[in-house]
Assembly symmetry: C2
Homo-oligomer: 357 residues x 2
């Protein structure tokens, strides 16, 4: 629909250079974001591969949820716009500002978060004096999270008290289209439509009492944050395989690099297995988000993707933790780069702030 339009001065394409028609494979890739417009669901936009420019997609679908509701019909139109934008030929492109983004899905109908990284799960389970369930390596472990109020990647993260044990968790998540009840893992891989980067804020001091009840997390998992850009799996090229993202997740705490664990290593299940696990007894509807949990590798030289893990290691080594949980004013940055050094999802970069009364 955007064919034949003029190139944009300052756009990212090679102006005056004839670009060959994209290969079929490339046509399945795209990057999407949701811009703040004062509404609850924001405005769907297509972002260029280099995250330099953006183009509203409101002529195609007003929101990302609406695009996911009718993906087979909507996605090709978004792809057309993405191709045009990457060529620098999109009519109304403008510079991409990540701070203008909400979470790609500012609210969602489902958010299920797994705990696929054995090193993280086993360390934290033991650190709170609990037993690793016998089922852990046999089937996915996951909880149902709140999905009514997500934070944008550059939004402040508000908390009422530093005494809650404020912690981040760097994760990857998948967005699916409709998954029918009983779908097998092999079929579930094809239902992954988008991937996202997550900061799953956690309140460590509230977790033990909640998990002791057996009913899962509630107060201990406040609003979750998502990087500005959601990408189709094919955007990751070879890094997307076996239902996992094979790439390091860079974590900076107050400007200091603290982790670069490989999201493709150390997992006991991938996205297809998690999706099939949740879909065993019910349908998953389009726009459901599923996460694999805090990225974590056995190799502790890769650092940490949440403070709790570091504290558990310190406790094992020294008898007590030395890394404090977060304080107001602290800043967490989480980012994934592709093989060419390009930021894939844009950065999560959040300040911890005190809630306004």
């Amino acid at each position: 629909m955007e064919a034949g339009i003029l190139s944009v001065p300052g756009g990212p394409g090679k102006r005056g250079h004839r670009v060959p028609f994209p290969a079929p494979h490339e046509a399945r890739t795209m990057k999407l974001a949701t811009l703040k417009d004062g509404s609850r669901d924001g405005q769907l936009a297509v972002v260029s591969r280099d995250l330099a420019t953006v183009h509203l997609a409101d002529g195609i679908a007003p929101t990302l949820q609406r695009a996911l509701d009718d993906w087979a019909f909507i996605a090709p139109q978004l792809e057309d716009l993405y191709q045009t934008l990457n060529l620098g030929k999109a009519r109304h492109a403008f510079p991409f500002e990540p701070g203008r983004c909400m979470a790609p899905l500012p609210r969602a109908f489902q958010w299920v978060d797994g705990s696929a990284y054995a090193h993280h799960f086993e360390l934290l389970t033991r650190a709170r004096g609990a037993e690793v369930p016998a089922s852990y390596r046999r089937e996915p472990t996951a909880y149902q999270g709140g999905s009514d109020d997500f934070l944008g990647g550059l939004d402040d993260a508000p908390f009422a008290s530093e005494d809650w044990g404020i912690d981040f968790e760097a994760e990857l998540a998948a967005v699916v289209d409709d998954v029918p009840m009983g779908a097998a893992p092999a079929a579930c891989a094809g239902h992954v439509r988008l991937l996202m980067l997550v900061n799953d804020w956690s309140l460590r001091h509230l977790i033990p009492d909640e998990l002791a009840k057996g009913f899962g997390f509630l107060q201990s998992k406040p609003a979750t944050a998502f990087a500005p850009v959601a990408v189709t799996p094919d955007e990751l090229g070879e890094a997307w395989r076996e239902g996992r993202v094979h790439a390091p997740v860079l974590v900076h705490l107050n400007g200091r690099k603290v982790g670069d664990a490989d999201a493709g290593a150390g997992t006991v299940f991938g996205f297809p297995e998690l999706i099939a696990h949740v879909a065993r007894t019910r349908n998953l509807r389009a726009g459901s988000i599923l996460g694999l949990g805090t990225v974590s590798n056995d190799d502790t030289a890769r650092g940490f993707s949440c403070i709790a893990e570091q504290r558990a290691l310190e406790t094992l080594a020294d008898g007590q933790p030395s890394t404090p949980y977060l304080c107001f004013g602290d800043r967490v940055r989480i980012e994934v780069f592709d093989a060419l050094g390009q930021s894939v999802f844009g950065a999560i970069d959040q300040a911890v702030v005190r809630t306004r009364p």
Copy 2:
């Protein structure tokens, strides 16, 4: 907006009889439903108090979520239509067929289910050999449920296997508008915009393993069903007080009455306390649904609102349960009547069926 229009032949109002202008109190009441129209969110409609007629509300708000998103602006318009409909003067009213209804919110951004009835919680916790947490009577116990795929009140409930221990749970739930983080219980009562009747389908044989993990319910809580009509709290008159619905919940199993427990008795918390509990560390956004859990009274003469409870009592008395869980073809009916004998929410009336492959 519907003032001065003609009466409808066959409508429920007293034609030719001059009805006095509704009192201010009455003007805050209404009944809403969502009609199947092939879309994911259905079509918002206003239902007459006697559940005899219905009028599309699509000229006011296309969906119930949209109405909740902007409740202060939308609700008065829906109320006007409700008044007109009750007077038999709505222009395009037609007979209400509960079978045409989806859940009032066919999908929602949040579904948190509590366990407020001490008799139910303590009995079932002990029945699975677990300890009642010390916190149970001190603060609300609740879990985050799946909300992406709700069933309508007359929809079949599909399951792949009878071996899962198929059970119903009769419950009441509240729908809130935006609740700010940290809101006190007293303030939370005012955020209850609608009440609904729930069948929280549960797979008993999958619960022990899931709760042992501590991460809550996932496979053991398949799609939840809701009665056709959502009502404002004031529709219940004196039965809505202390943040609870004081009315019996009638349960029939295959045509036989098995329970009529009072939803206002035997609770350790009400809706305001549950809402405040969940909002302690995060905002709750409009359209969030919160349930008080399976209705249950200490007085066992009131019968049961889920089979698991009856089986636990049988086990205590006889050493083993005698009431089986549900089989394909079984039918569950759940309904609440007001003081005048009028069905408040319409009935939940569902058949247990085998999923089609």
